[in-house]
């Protein structure tokens, strides 16, 4: 048997030998595929940033000055360099961004909106997650389904009615009648008009995440906390939430990033893209485009500046998430 195999191996070509080896030792192939996939994803993720950087440090006058792929001379044979390189070097664009517009205020707006939305979402979704995850009551499945159904609505469907309501000109009426209910305050150009719809839109995801996590905390721990002197609510915030730290962190990071990057609602709720109207980062970036000029280099620089805080946040949060998972603290 063994002799036969060696004979076969000797007889076959290199491809066949390679296949044979791969079948006997698939680890190598898996590892190879893993690296191939890694490189692919790294490239597709990082290339846009690189391209932004190239645009940002190219002086404004050179922006439309021809190909970003330089011809290089390889010992007589000319070739095209496969990566774009900046046409010139103008790091001042990163300062210019804050000179031309109060870009830091746009960032502050986005930060404030994202943080307040995250806080609202975490508190309300924690209560909902506690109820859905730990209590048994009639209609629970139906309510969960309701939340799921609402999260399927396209956000655009809410824009017009919400805009009308937040304008505060006419009273809200009972549907299909003209009976007025109340006249809402004018919320346009204020954080209220953005935090409220954001919270509602991003709530379902957090509710689902937290329901799963809170449902896994053993009943005994909650009972122990209650006997020791907390209320149910106290047990939620003192025991269940800390033990679900990975879930809470996940919900928080997802909500924060979603709001930080949000543009659709805020562009409408802020009637003009100005910082004092609570226009967010994307509003600021788009303001570098005027009727006659588009300052791609400043837009690129602004985008990079805007992304940095999120990168830092995710790195920190990821450490927390990983440490929370590896602690394995939930095992009783």
């Amino acid at each position: 048997m063994a002799a036969e195999t060696t004979q076969q191996e000797e007889a076959s070509g290199p491809l066949q030998r390679w296949t044979q080896r791969a079948i006997q030792n698939p680890e190598r192939i898996y590892r190879g595929l893993f690296y191939a996939a890694m490189v692919f994803f790294m490239f597709t993720t990082l290339f846009p940033f690189y391209w932004l950087l190239v645009l940002a440090i190219t002086p404004e006058g050179q922006l439309l000055g021809g190909s970003y792929l330089p011809e290089i001379d390889l010992f007589g044979a000319s070739a095209t360099f496969p990566l774009p390189v900046p046409q010139g070097f103008n790091p001042a664009a990163f300062i210019e961004v804050f000179d031309q517009l109060p870009f830091h205020l746009y960032m502050l707006n986005s930060f404030a909106l994202a943080i307040s939305t995250t806080v609202v979402v975490l508190i309300v979704a924690s209560l909902a997650g506690y109820v859905f995850g730990r209590l048994d009551f009639p209609g629970r499945a139906f309510l969960m389904l309701g939340i799921l159904a609402i999260s399927y609505f396209p956000p655009a469907a809410f824009v017009v009615p919400l805009f009308e309501a937040f304008t505060g000109n006419a009273p809200v009426v009972i549907p299909f009648t003209s009976i007025p209910l109340f006249t809402p305050p004018r919320l346009l150009n204020s954080p209220g008009s953005m935090v409220m719809p954001f919270s509602a839109l991003f709530m379902p995801l957090s509710v689902f995440i937290l329901t799963t996590f809170y449902g896994q905390i053993p009943d005994g721990l909650e009972d122990a906390a209650r006997v020791e002197g907390t209320t149910r609510l106290g047990a939620l915030f003192r025991v269940i939430m800390p033990l679900s730290a990975p879930g809470v962190a996940t919900a928080a990071v997802l909500t924060f990033i979603a709001v930080y990057n949000e543009y659709f609602f805020s562009s409408i709720m802020a009637t003009s893209p100005e910082a004092q109207n609570w226009s967010p980062i994307v509003g600021g970036i788009l303001s570098f485009q005027t009727q006659y000029t588009t300052q791609f280099n400043l837009m690129g620089a602004a985008s990079i500046v805007a992304v940095l805080p999120v990168v830092v946040l995710v790195i920190i949060a990821q450490e927390r998430i990983v440490s929370g998972l590896t602690a394995g603290a939930l095992k009783e």
């Binding site: 721990l221 009972d223 006997v227 002197g229 800390p242 033990l243 603290a329 095992k331």
Partner: protein
């Protein structure tokens, strides 16, 4: 410190009644065990005392307060859980001081109390450890320290030793008893392990099917069980039960009959069906029965299986034409379990003759299961009703 009182407490879940009209009166400073098989409602009973479950009907009193609808935190109780339930994200100090911190005690008072509690359970060196760095016994001690640090009126312990290994369990049992002596607090203790109940408690509350069967000191439960369930549940191995019929001055069973003193037996007459109960240690080989004042007639049997335990041997006897292949139900009349001295020369498949101690034979009403008598002869006036037979010789 306080008494605990349950009045007509009933807890129903949809169509299941977990606790059925429970009346319990636990005195101040008493150590009471709730025992019963799994699912008998003992844990639910404890949860109603703790306030983790609100009873469907009835009232719960702790001390002189009615607490039926109070949340657990306002009841002056502390609880030790079966799964220990330490907060995994807090170190030992934080776990123990959790309740005190919630109640805003001053820092030095907390320190003092934690020190004392950890001293009692011998954990002083471990205050900075996390729960997952400790062994099962240490964790359980932390849980106990967490309970005693608040100096509650009542301790509730829900099978606190169930998850420990056998050796540690015996050790913790003694520690708990010492703790009770030291603190002198009312303790309600749930267990399905009757050894724990027998050894630790002042009184045992035997619960079955959500109903209280008997609440009495351990030896009373053992010697004078109120009904068939208590008789079968308390004692290991279990009491022998044989079906019998009352005739004139005699109780006839399939393989033997015993005479009884009519003065001891109320409310039954000839023709009534009863269950005869006799504990394994009250069955004697004929040649060792010399000291018995009131033996029955000899019963002929064949030894089936011997189980040497070291300090005694359990011998399974077959009576009459007893056949081991018979079903458990049918076989009870033909089987008798006895305990004999470890130096006995009895072999398996021996023919043996035994007698029963008539003073220790229990009769139970077949219809209700209630005990009729705990002895077929009148021994009042003598001091042998609970003591060992040896005492009469002194």
């Amino acid at each position: 410190m306080a008494q605990v009182k349950l009045e007509h407490v009933t807890k129903r879940y949809d169509d299941v009644t977990a606790v059925d009209d429970m009346n319990l009166n636990i005195r101040d400073g008493e150590f009471v065990c709730l025992v019963g098989p799994s699912g008998c409602g003992k844990s639910t009973t404890m949860e109603t005392i703790a306030g983790l479950t609100i009873p469907t009907e009835g009232e719960v009193w702790i001390g002189d307060r009615e607490v039926t609808n109070l949340p657990p935190k306002d009841r002056g109780i502390a609880m030790v859980f079966q799964n220990i339930a330490l907060f995994p994200h807090m170190d030992v100090y934080d776990n123990i001081s959790f309740g005190l911190r919630l109640r805003d005690y001053p820092k030095d008072e907390i320190d003092k109390r934690v020190e004392r509690a950890s001293d009692i359970v011998q954990l002083e060196e471990m205050l900075e450890r996390m729960p997952d760095e400790m062994s099962g016994g240490q964790r359980q001690r932390v849980a106990i320290a967490r309970a005693i640090v608040r100096q509650p009126d009542v301790f509730l312990m829900d099978e606190p030793l169930a998850n420990l290994d056998a050796k540690l369990r015996v050790h913790m049992r003694t520690e708990l008893q010492r703790l009770h002596k030291e603190l002198d607090t009312t303790i309600v203790y749930v267990t399905h392990d009757q050894a724990e109940a027998m050894t630790m408690s002042d009184r045992i509350a035997v619960i079955d099917g959500g109903e209280l069967q008997q609440i009495d000191p351990p030896l009373v439960c053992y010697n004078e069980p109120a009904n068939l369930f208590v008789a079968g549940f308390i004692g290991s191995p279990s009491m022998n039960f044989v079906n019998g019929t009352v005739t004139d001055g005699q109780i006839e069973s399939k393989n033997f009959s015993v005479a009884f003193d009519p003065a001891m037996v109320d409310g039954i007459g000839p023709g009534d069906d009863v269950t005869v109960g006799i504990r394994p240690e009250d069955v004697y080989p004929v040649d060792e029965s010399g000291g018995l004042a009131h033996p029955t007639a000899e019963i002929h049997a064949r030894s089936d299986v011997l189980e040497p335990m070291g300090d005694e041997i359990f011998a399974y006897l077959l009576l009459g034409d007893g056949d081991t292949s018979m079903s458990q139900e049918a076989a009870t009349d033909d089987q008798l379990l006895m305990s004999i001295e470890p130096d006995s020369n009895m072999q398996e498949e021996d023919d043996v003759s035994v007698v029963l101690d008539r003073r220790k034979i229990h009769l139970f009403d077949d219809a209700t299961g209630d005990a009729i008598t705990h002895g077929l002869v009148d021994v009042t006036g003598g001091d042998e009703s609970t003591g060992a037979p040896a005492e009469t010789d002194d």
